[in-house]
């Protein structure tokens, strides 16, 4: 059990030090180009302290979800990437437009001032529900995040798509013919 967690830490480190697959392999131009946003006020979802574009990172640049949320596949919690993860790229990548540059400056400031941004939580479950991310990724694959989180790779600003109610959970469990036992999640 204990050695397991050490091994898990090892995997995490290995993933964190590798470079995103898309950035490395010099693939052809992306199929999707993130739109230019002029009016952020009309966007879905809560406004975040940094206008982080999932559509740019996960969509246009095809950074795998698990590159930043690395622990989703090995732990119950997906984790929020550390500022170091952002700074790892953005100390080099400065942004192509003034808007991007302004937001990336916030990342650099957070790193330099050692003041992590306070993200607004979007997906939350009550305390009496235990959702193990690892089992779902294991069963559905590393691209399956969209099942619950929606097509984040095309979201300019992230918002909650699925209701995350029990009935909604159960409908999927019924469809996939997997357990509906209460004590799988409630304990």
């Amino acid at each position: 059990m204990r050695s397991g967690s050490r091994v898990a830490a090892g995997i995490a480190l290995a993933m964190a030090t590798s470079v995103p697959a898309a950035a490395q392999s010099g693939q052809p131009a992306p199929a999707f180009t993130a739109p230019v946003i002029s009016d952020t006020g009309s966007l879905h979802g809560p406004r975040q302290p940094i206008f982080f574009r999932h559509d740019v990172h996960a969509g246009q640049n095809r950074v795998p979800c698990l590159y930043c949320h690395y622990s989703a596949a090995i732990s119950s919690e997906p984790g929020i990437p550390s500022v170091q993860t952002c700074a790892g790229c953005h100390m080099m990548v400065g942004g192509s437009t003034p808007t991007y540059q302004a937001e990336i400056k916030k990342v650099r400031d957070a790193w330099n001032h050692k003041a992590p941004p306070q993200w607004v939580r979007i997906h939350a479950l009550p305390g009496f529900v235990h959702f193990p991310h690892l089992r779902h990724i294991k069963a559905l694959g590393s691209e399956s995040c969209t099942t619950c989180h929606g097509d984040v790779g095309h979201m300019v600003q992230v918002y909650q798509v699925a209701p995350l109610t029990m009935g909604w959970c159960i409908s999927c469990h019924l469809q996939k013919q997997v357990t509906r036992d209460c004590l799988v999640c409630h304990y």
Binding site: A9, E77, R121
Partner: protein
């Protein structure tokens, strides 16, 4: 990737960010959607969100020095378990060790240095000012400085030694229970000033003279584990079960678990030991050592007939014990606890040594060499210091890791006033600290570097497992180094001390390579050769007087009062931890209060009942104590636990009950120790108080023979492996049809949905021949499952939430609970928790399906579904369901169980329940799910033994085994088929998932 590098990195990183441990997975009742998610600045390499990281360190709650594995989630330590690699505790941990967590997160912890201001009050002060002040005082007081520390066997003790030497100070080690008598007894008998290691595990007869090795004596976890190995009954084992005998005026937990209790007159244990030795020599029951002839005269004076009157045991009984002990060929006799706290404690210890010597135990079961690591201090050194203080010879007094203000309530306080400047390193405002002039709060042992040497050959390392909760507290080692003008931290000092040690044992590795390994293993463990001892010159000079009990201080009252360390609070240091306060004492079952124990005869004579107050007066002080009547004490003896009665310390400890130390002498006895027995006068005061006791709780399953089964040794030995003596007779014809119909319905139901296919059935086996009732499992359950402590008032109203409780009943003997076939008095215990019935009475009565049966055989309880009808609890025959009458998690609420930062200890994997919800043991379902998730990740099935519920994990005697009953090769399935196996209330057809294995008692021929 090395643990050590990770740790350092982690600390640097978090140190730089000001301790920004992430708020991910915070354990609130209900995360609000407006909650903020604050990421790490740098993700610590060894922390994965949602996954625990374990660090090896060392427990410092008592001198035993058990190895710890600290479970850390998101930067917070949330559970302590034993380090399986530690040769001391082998992965097990007692209640006190686990409650160290409540020391880290104690809501009364000091955060900042305090100094006595102009108005005489302690006021906050900066570290710079505090250190400058202290520096000046020290410089002016050179040569008149004293430093009192607790038991420090490691580098911190070395540092204090060096520092005191440099500034011309004296270093005094003070532990209220310092085992002076044992050391002196060994010097008298063998000329060696050390405490040996006792090999209980391979002993074939365990004869304890007062040594309560299951409660507090020396190394309770280690000795309990060894005791269970020797004394536990395993069918078909070729080595026979060791008989255990306890000698002492009070039974103690060790006596309750012994096969025989010999209630000798207090202080005559040594006479009895010599009489046993005399019989062994006289009858040549063992091959005698060559120099045993020297003992001839001593033993002749102590023949059974000569001592029988004084001891209060007749001569034939003494001869029988001697024959049994020697005949076992491999017995061990222990002297300790009360027997070594009398005025003649050292002589008793020496007499027991002589018994061991003539019986051939020395060198076999009594091993010098791997000696107990105890700091060298004696009580006399402290009283000498008090004299010097009184004489005005001490100008600056520093206190670390000791609370003499609680244990020495007389002369010490008078002398305290004569010291101009008192400094405390305590992290709580205990009695001593709150009367000090300067308080420099130390970090908790779980937050700092240190080490200890609990036994020769065991170097135990202590590393910080998390960022300090009190961010402005400083490690005392760092402060001392600063005062000495040295550069570097205490960690550097520690490593310097370890370098030569590492060089000897690193097998060519560099220190930098070896250090992380040491941290990972929790220290360095090497075998120490045994040291052979011979009778010392003074051995024959023992006990010159005519055999008689010792003289106890006090008026010519015929009542001797014995004061003993509380099993949960020890010398009082645990008193501000709610887990320990709420833990019913393993023997008395009383929580949150101290008591005075009275034999029923005495109680009848004085016409007092449980809870009536007595005014106890000794020559040294007086206390008012509520009575608890127990048959497990001699009629001429009163017993009081030590640990309560704090005048300061914190919200859970302050002004609670009485301080037994008030009654005790403060002058050292002949061997330089403290005497814990005194004659007292007692009279009733007319006051009464209900004691918060779980004894007589209507929840209890009762003392019935059909519920707690005890087999005589001979019967148990004769059981065939396939026998089932406790099986219920087949149901009568009228019920058989109904049962068959019910079973058919169950089978039909089991083929549907989730229930179809092959499923595990989680089950447990509890071996009552191993269980001692020590209650480590109870605290483990509190820690693992976020059980609230409810306080004294609610315990009185039977609203405690202990999912796992230890029920204790008396059987045999006379007085309360008497009359079963003239058997001698003995205690029986049974852990009682949800039995996870297959045909559970709780399930069908729930109107909302909150109580239901899971496919893997658990009785599920869905909190979010529960509406609180309490039908399930009413219908549960075992009474193991607990209702949340109040909102224990409400911050600032009337019944708040976790005032900040105690809530940091909550397990994020377990829901914190709200008011109006029923709860009960879940078999640690979060651990089951965790193991299943891991197994799924690794594409395998869960292995037998992989899932260990918190109770089973902590159990020092390995009495609890968990697993899948459907896997016929699993340990639990094998134990469930054991001939000693039975179910509680089997006749109710509940088909429990817990199989109890009957206790076995050796009553001799």
């Amino acid at each position: 990737m090395s643990e050590g590098m990770n740790r350092r990195r982690f600390l640097t990183v978090l140190g730089a960010t000001g301790g920004g441990a992430a708020a991910l997975g915070a354990c609130g009742v209900d995360p609000e959607r407006s909650q903020k998610l604050i990421p790490y600045l740098v993700q610590p390499e060894d922390q994965v969100p949602g996954t625990a990281t374990w660090y090896a360190t060392t427990c410092r709650e008592c001198p035993a020095g058990c190895g710890l594995h600290a479970k850390v989630r998101e930067g917070r330590v949330i559970k302590l378990e034993g380090n399986p690699e530690s040769p001391i505790n082998g992965g097990r941990l007692c209640a006190r060790g686990q409650a160290a967590l409540e020391g880290v997160y104690n809501p009364d912890r000091l955060g900042d240095p305090l100094a006595r201001g102009v108005q005489g009050k302690l006021e906050r002060i900066s570290w710079d000012d505090a250190l400058a002040q202290l520096h000046a005082k020290l410089a002016a007081a050179r040569g008149r400085i004293a430093f009192v520390t607790g038991n420090e066997t490691g580098s911190f003790g070395d540092l204090v030694d060096e520092w005191t030497k440099a500034v011309g100070a004296t270093h005094v080690t003070y532990e209220p229970f310092a085992f002076e008598a044992l050391r002196e007894g060994n010097r008298l008998a063998f000329g060696i000033d050390a405490v040996p290691w006792y090999d209980l595990a391979s002993a074939r007869y365990i004869l304890s003279f007062g040594a309560d090795f299951l409660d507090t004596w020396l190394s309770p976890v280690a000795y309990q584990n060894a005791f269970a190995r020797a004394h536990g009954f395993t069918s078909g084992r070729d080595v026979t079960m060791a008989k255990s005998v306890f000698v002492g005026p009070r039974m103690f937990l060790t006596g309750m678990n012994a096969d025989e209790w010999v209630a000798a007159t207090p202080g005559t244990e040594g006479l009895l030991a010599l009489a046993l030795a005399a019989v062994i020599v006289e009858e040549r029951l063992a091959p005698l050592p060559a120099d045993a002839g020297r003992l001839h005269e001593l033993l002749a004076r102590h023949a059974p007939a000569a001592v029988a009157g004084a001891v209060g045991i007749d001569a034939p009984a003494i001869e029988r014990l001697a024959r049994e002990f020697a005949g076992a060929q491999g017995g061990v006799a222990l002297a300790g606890g009360m027997a070594t706290h009398y005025p003649n404690g050292a002589e008793i210890a020496a007499a027991v040594n002589i018994l061991n010597y003539v019986a051939g135990a020395v060198g076999k079961t009594v091993r010098f060499g791997p000696n107990q690591g105890l700091a060298r201090g004696t009580f006399r050194e402290l009283t000498d210091l008090v004299t010097a203080m009184e004489a005005g010879k001490i100008a600056v007094l520093l206190v670390h890791g000791a609370n003499p203000g609680h244990s020495l309530t007389g002369a010490f306080w008078q002398a305290w006033g004569k010291v101009a400047y008192k400094v405390s390193f305590s992290s709580d405002l205990d009695e001593t600290a709150s009367a000090a002039d300067l308080v420099l709060p130390d970090l908790h042992p779980l937050e700092q570097w240190s080490d200890s040497r609990p036994r020769a050959g065991v170097w135990a390392l202590q590393q910080p497992v998390m960022q300090p909760v009190a961010a402005n507290a400083r490690p005392a080692g760092d402060v001392l180094l600063t005062l000495a003008g040295k550069s570097g931290t205490f960690k550097d000092y520690l490593q310097t001390k370890w370098r030569p040690l590492a060089e000897r044992h690193a097998h060519g590795k560099s220190f930098e390579e070896f250090w992380p390994e040491l941290l990972q293993h929790g220290g360095l463990y090497v075998d120490v050769p045994r040291q052979w001892v011979r009778l010392g010159p003074q051995a024959t000079e023992l006990m010159r007087e005519a055999p008689a009990p010792p003289r106890f201080a006090g008026e010519a009252s015929d009542l001797v009062l014995i004061a003993f360390p509380s099993a949960a609070l020890y010398d009082g240091r645990g008193a501000n931890k709610p887990w320990l306060q709420e833990l019913p004492d393993p023997v008395s079952k009383i929580a949150w209060h101290a008591w005075v124990e009275l034999h029923p005869e005495t109680a009848a004579k004085w016409s007092v009942t449980d809870g009536d107050f007595l005014l106890l007066q000794s020559p040294f002080g007086a206390v008012r104590a509520p009575v608890w009547i127990t048959p497990a004490i001699r009629p001429d003896v009163l017993g009081v636990p030590i640990g309560q009665g704090h005048r300061a310390y914190g919200r859970y400890a302050r002004d609670r009950s009485f301080n037994a130390f008030d009654l005790l002498p403060e002058a050292p006895n002949a061997y330089g120790g403290r005497t814990f027995a005194v004659r007292v006068a007692a009279r009733t005061t007319g006051e009464h108080r209900f004691l918060a006791s779980s004894e007589g709780d209507p929840r209890g399953v009762g003392a019935g023979e059909d519920i707690i089964k005890v087999l005589p040794r001979a019967t148990a030995d004769a059981l065939a492996p396939t026998a089932h003596p406790f099986a219920e007779p087949a149901p009568p014809a009228y019920a058989a049809g109904a049962l068959a119909g019910w079973a058919e319905e169950q089978r039909a139901g089991a083929a549907l949905g989730n229930y179809a296919g092959k499923q595990p059935r989680w089950a447990m086996a509890i071996d009552l021949a191993r269980c001692t009732g020590c209650s480590a499992c109870v605290t483990a359950c509190y820690a693992e499952n976020n059980l609230p402590t409810v306080g004294e008032e609610l315990v009185l109203r039977r609203r405690q939430m202990s999912w796992m409780r230890i029920e204790r009943y008396w059987r045999g003997g006379e007085g309360r609970g008497a009359g079963e076939g003239g058997e001698p008095l003995h205690g029986v215990v049974t852990p009682m928790l949800c039995q996870q019935c297959e045909a559970a009475p709780c399930e069908p009565v729930c109107p909302v399906f909150a109580a239901y049966h899971t496919p893997d055989g658990l009785n599920g309880q869905v909190y979010n579904r529960c509406v609180g009808t309490r039908y399930c609890a009413n219908n549960c025959p075992y009474k193991v369901r607990y209702f949340n009458w109040y909102n224990f998690a409400e911050a600032g609420g009337e019944w708040e169980a976790w005032p900040s930062p105690l809530d940091w200890q909550l397990n994020p994997d377990v829901t914190v329940r709200e008011k109006g919800v029923m709860e009960k043991c879940t078999f640690c379902v979060q651990r089951i799910r965790g193991a299943q998730n891991r197994a799924r990740l690794e594409d395998r099935t869960v292995l037998d033994g992989e899932i260990v519920p918190a109770c089973a994990q902590s159990c020092p005697s390995e009495a609890i085994v968990f697993g899948d009953l459907h896997d016929k090769t699993s340990r639990v399935a094998q134990l469930a088929a054991d001939p000693r196996g039975y179910h509680v209330f089997e006749s109710l057809n509940t088909k429990p998932g817990i199989t109890y294995l009957a206790r076995v008692v050796d009553r001799g021929a």
